[in-house]
C-alpha cells in the first residue's frame, strides 16, 4: 500500500499546517457581525441613489412648468397686427405680366356653335383650321 503511505505523510503535513493556521483564525462573531453591518449599508446607499436619481426629473419638470410667463412671451395685439400687415419692399417684383391668368378659370365664348354637339355631322362641316402656311412654303 505505497499510495497509502504517501497519503498518510501528506495528511500529517497538511494537518500540522492546518493546526498552525487555525490558531490565527478570527472569531466567527467578529466577521459575521461586521458583514451584517456592511449588509445594510450598501442597500441604504442604493435606495438613496435611486431616490436622488428620481428626484432630478421631478424637480426639472416642476421648474419648467411653474416658470412665470415673462413679458416678452406674448406680443401686444397692435404689434401682432403690424407684423401681419407688413409687406416686403420688393413684393411688386413678384407681379409678372399675365399673372392674373393663373388666378381665374378661362371663359368659353357664347353662343356655342351647334355643330359641336352634332355627332352625325360630316367631318367636312367642321370648319377647317386656318393655320397660315409658313413663309416660303407654297400650297
Amino acid at each position: 500500500m505505497t499510495e497509502d503511505r504517501v497519503e498518510r505523510d501528506l495528511a500529517a503535513r497538511f494537518q500540522r499546517l492546518r493546526d498552525e493556521d487555525d490558531s490565527h483564525a478570527p472569531l466567527f462573531r467578529t466577521l459575521y457581525d461586521a458583514a451584517h453591518r456592511k449588509d445594510s449599508l450598501p442597500r441604504r446607499r442604493f435606495f438613496m441613489l435611486i431616490a436622488a436619481a428620481a428626484t432630478i426629473p421631478v424637480v426639472v419638470a416642476v421648474v419648467v412648468l411653474r416658470r412665470p410667463a415673462g413679458p416678452a412671451r406674448f406680443l401686444p395685439e397692435a404689434d401682432a397686427n403690424a407684423i401681419a400687415a407688413w409687406t416686403s419692399p420688393t413684393e411688386s417684383l413678384l407681379d409678372t405680366p399675365g399673372s392674373e391668368l393663373y388666378g381665374e378659370a378661362p371663359a368659353i365664348a357664347e353662343p356655342i356653335p351647334e355643330w359641336i354637339f352634332d355627332s352625325n355631322a360630316p367631318s367636312s362641316t367642321t370648319p377647317p383650321l386656318s393655320t397660315p402656311a409658313p413663309k416660303g412654303v407654297s400650297s
Binding site: V6, F14, L17, R18, D21, R43
Partner: protein, 163 residues
C-alpha cells in the same frame, strides 16, 4: 433557509472556511479575513444563494473561492492602473517552520487545479467528490488532479513510496 439556519451553518464551517480562504489568498491572513467577510456578506444579502443542490459546506467553499478570485482580479487591475494604495499580499512566512515552508513551497509549484484539490482534501478534509463540487468539475476530473498532484508532491517533498 432562514437567516438563523444560515448563521448556524456559517458558524459550523467558520474555521474550515477561514482555512480555505487562507489557501485561496496565498496564506495572506489579512486578505483571507476580508475575503471570508465578503463571502458572508454575499450569502447574507442574497448575491450568493444556497439552492440546496450541494451541501452547504461545498457551497460556502465555492463562494469563498469565487470571492478570492474576484479580489485577486481587482488587485491586479488596481496594480495595472498604478494605484499606490495597493497592498501587496504577504504570506505569513515569518517564524514559519521548515516543514511548513517546504510544504508551501511544493504546493506553489503545482498547477492551480492540482493544488486546490489537494488542499481541499488534505488541508480542509473534504472527500475528492466534495472537492469536485466545490471546484465545479466532475469527480473524475478531480480524481485525476488529485492523483497527479499527490505524485508530484511526493516527488517534491521526497516522500518515498517504500517504507
Amino acid at each position: 433557509m432562514t437567516p438563523g439556519e444560515i448563521e448556524a451553518e456559517l458558524e459550523t464551517h467558520h474555521r474550515a472556511g477561514f482555512a480555505w480562504s487562507l489557501a485561496c489568498c496565498g496564506r495572506d491572513r489579512e486578505e483571507a479575513e476580508d475575503v471570508l467577510q465578503a463571502s458572508y456578506l454575499k450569502i447574507l444579502d442574497g448575491r450568493a444563494e444556497f439552492a440546496g443542490r450541494s451541501s452547504f459546506k461545498t457551497f460556502l467553499f465555492g463562494v469563498i473561492r469565487k470571492t478570492a478570485s474576484e479580489a485577486r482580479r481587482r488587485r491586479l487591475v488596481r496594480e495595472w492602473f498604478g494605484a499606490h494604495s495597493v497592498r501587496t499580499p504577504r504570506a505569513a512566512t515569518e517564524n514559519a517552520s521548515e516543514d511548513r515552508l517546504a510544504l508551501l513551497g511544493a504546493l506553489a509549484k503545482l498547477p492551480r487545479r492540482q493544488r486546490e484539490v489537494l488542499e481541499l482534501v488534505f488541508y480542509i478534509g473534504l472527500t475528492v467528490e466534495e472537492a469536485a463540487e466545490t471546484l465545479g468539475v466532475s469527480p473524475g476530473t478531480a480524481r485525476i488532479h488529485y492523483d497527479r498532484g499527490k505524485r508530484r508532491m511526493a516527488s517534491l517533498l521526497g516522500i518515498s513510496k517504500h517504507d
